[in-house]
Amino acid sequence: MSLATAIATGDLTQLPSRRDEDWRWTDLRGLIRAIPPASGLLEPTPGGPFAGLGGEEIVFGNGRSDGRAGALFTAEGGAPLRLRFCSDARGARHASTMVINAPGGERLTLLESYEGQGDYLADVELHIEIEAGAHVTRVVLVEEPAESILVSTAHVRLQPGASFHQVVLTSGGRRQRIETRVTQAQGGAEVRMDGVYILRDQRHADLTTVVTHGGRDGTTSQLTKGVVRDQARGVFQGRIVVEKGADGTEARMGHHALILSDKAEVDAKPELLIFADDVQCAHGNTIGALDEAAIFYARQRGMPEDVARAMLTEAFVGEVVDRIEHEGARDVARAWVSAQLGASE
């Protein structure tokens, strides 16, 4: 059951609904009344948020890749890969799939962006294989139009000794799910998965992660922060599974959200499913408003209230942005956060 299957078969009952436990806050069946026709061809213009950072570029225009059959990419030489999913369609749908391999010892920086206009239904599926000793950094920037419906699912598999660092930044859409499913089948790998959602108007974003530790001595560290205002809705679902025998696993998950209006909503489900005993697992979750004492302090120092609020909000989200290792991507992310928070003032 998924959006991809529903698009492929035209069968609406394949759409996940709120009755499906993992989709309880991101109902697609109640929203999509019919599977729209396929999107037309699109020749994306060069650019994208990471254009200035060099490296190779692969572009998908309305779900079609730019000539790479099977859309398979193998990392070599350490240069960044800019992966762009561009959409421009009205009342149409498209889907795309991509496979990325990081051979042993390679370092790959994947700069992934979602850009678009119109009101479309898009499904993206990524498969990332990270071999022993390889390191992949994935920075995902989602700037979708308010009327788009997007489901992006990444399946990441790590071998022992591999590492994967990810940051997702999104401003949401009509309904949007950015899902990452990471498997350390033999353990021994290092995973860091962070996220930022900044939502306004009636936008929705769902950051879902599932990390499965199948073997010993794996680590996972997660930090997600969200800011919602107006009538927006943020969803965070994080699941860490430690299978039998995966002793020595260390997993930490944090989700913190600010609700800046009376009608906004945040739903969270940080889950731990543990089948091994020699583990250290923890999660923390906080949802609330800005600290009035901190605002008072700033005002007392002569700072106007709106400036104080903006500064505190930016600092709140900044903790995640600071964790991005790639300097250029970090600057892009920081500018995006400022723009989002400014735009929502």
């Binding site: 489900k269 940080p270 543990i274 250290q280 923890a282 906080t286």
Partner: protein
Amino acid sequence: MAAVKETVAAVAELEKYQHGFVTDIAQDFAPKGLNADIVRFISAKKDEPEWMLAWRLEAFERWLALEEPDWAKVNYPKIDYQDSYYYAAPSQKAGPMSLDEVDPDILETYKKLGIPLREQEVLAGVQGAPRYAVDAVFDSVSVVTTFKKELAAVGVIFCPISEAIREHPELVKKYLGSVVPVSDNYFACLNSAVFSDGSFVYIPPGVRCPMELSTYFRINAKDSGQFERTLIIADKGSYCSYLEGCTAPMRDENQLHAAVVELVILEDAEIKYSTVQNWYPGDPETGKGGIYNFVTKRADCREDRAKVSWTQVETGSAITWKYPSCILRGEGSSGEFYSIAVTNGHQQADTGTKMIHLGANTKSRIISKGISAGKSSNTYRGLVSAHPKAVGSRNFTQCDSLLIGKDCAAHTVPYIEARNGLSVFEHEATTTRLSDDQLFYCQQRGLDTESAVALLVNGFVRDVLQTLPMEFAVEAQKLVAISLEGSVG
């Protein structure tokens, strides 16, 4: 080190399930199976008015249309609802009895269980010792309720619910099903159709109940289920503390226990509800037998500044499916949930709470401690939600899991739904095994491994034990100690 000694002694004493004996007495049964006639049979046995029968039959109709839930992290073979007795009661003459008329075998049973049914036995203790009134429910009926007269003197009604239906229909009609609606869920709906007894408590305005109230549930009959219903109403400005205990014989078949507890708390009133659940957990080696414990418990803080506190120590049952909840409707009302869930052998527990913040400035607090040992599985599942009107509401949740052994599992599944910007929700959870460093430290100080583990486990659950009334805290500590078995060495 007194606590450690006590715990170690308790382990030795409680190595096996001690309440697994059967009382051999003459019992009346309804025919096996479940249909509208059985519902009528139970209602007739209870001498119920017509409106109650109609209520039950409606519930039965609705139950037929419902499906058994399957979302909990518990696995068990499909239950054949037609292969069970829905009514089993000791043969006795009709009507209320004095204690002298109760079957001596039953009295002996409660004596063995350590439950004082004779008021003078309770009073015979040390001067100043706390007293508590008991409603003893044996299979489908309440066999005796103590201290009724003394409680009635201050206006407190404490009686079996079957008696309340006859004697206080206006209260029962007003409140029964008002917190847990008939078709709330599959098991609550089944209970509404076939509930046989349970306790009813009404605390009038401004009254502080002069003693602890308690109900002791005992399943005795083979192939029977127990479906009790408890309704407690705390009127404006009143207070009561209620304790609940339960045990069952050791049998190879699974037995069903599907209870409903409804608490109604009005303005400035408070209810403290404590449970020590020690149903037979099944054979620790094979997992055979044990009670299926599917319980719906909910408190409705209906008016301003109402307060409820749930404390549960769950050590028994083959399967536990239980989420004591608080509906925080009144402004400034508050709910608390303290839980220790211990699973060992092949036990499976999926338990937690729901805090539904509907009113402004409502507060809730959840402290959950799960301990899994053996081949068991222990899940904390909880919901905290805040309505847009629940401005200024606040929740703090802490759930910690302790794993003892390689074959057990511990899960944490919290749901947080925040729908306004003026509330604060904090949640933290940890899962870990007993710390080697702490064990080493204790051993270095001369404690043997078993004592060290006992000390650490006691420390782990201390926050919750402290909220229990004194007598239960002692019993609970002993029960928790069982989890240590097999975890050392």
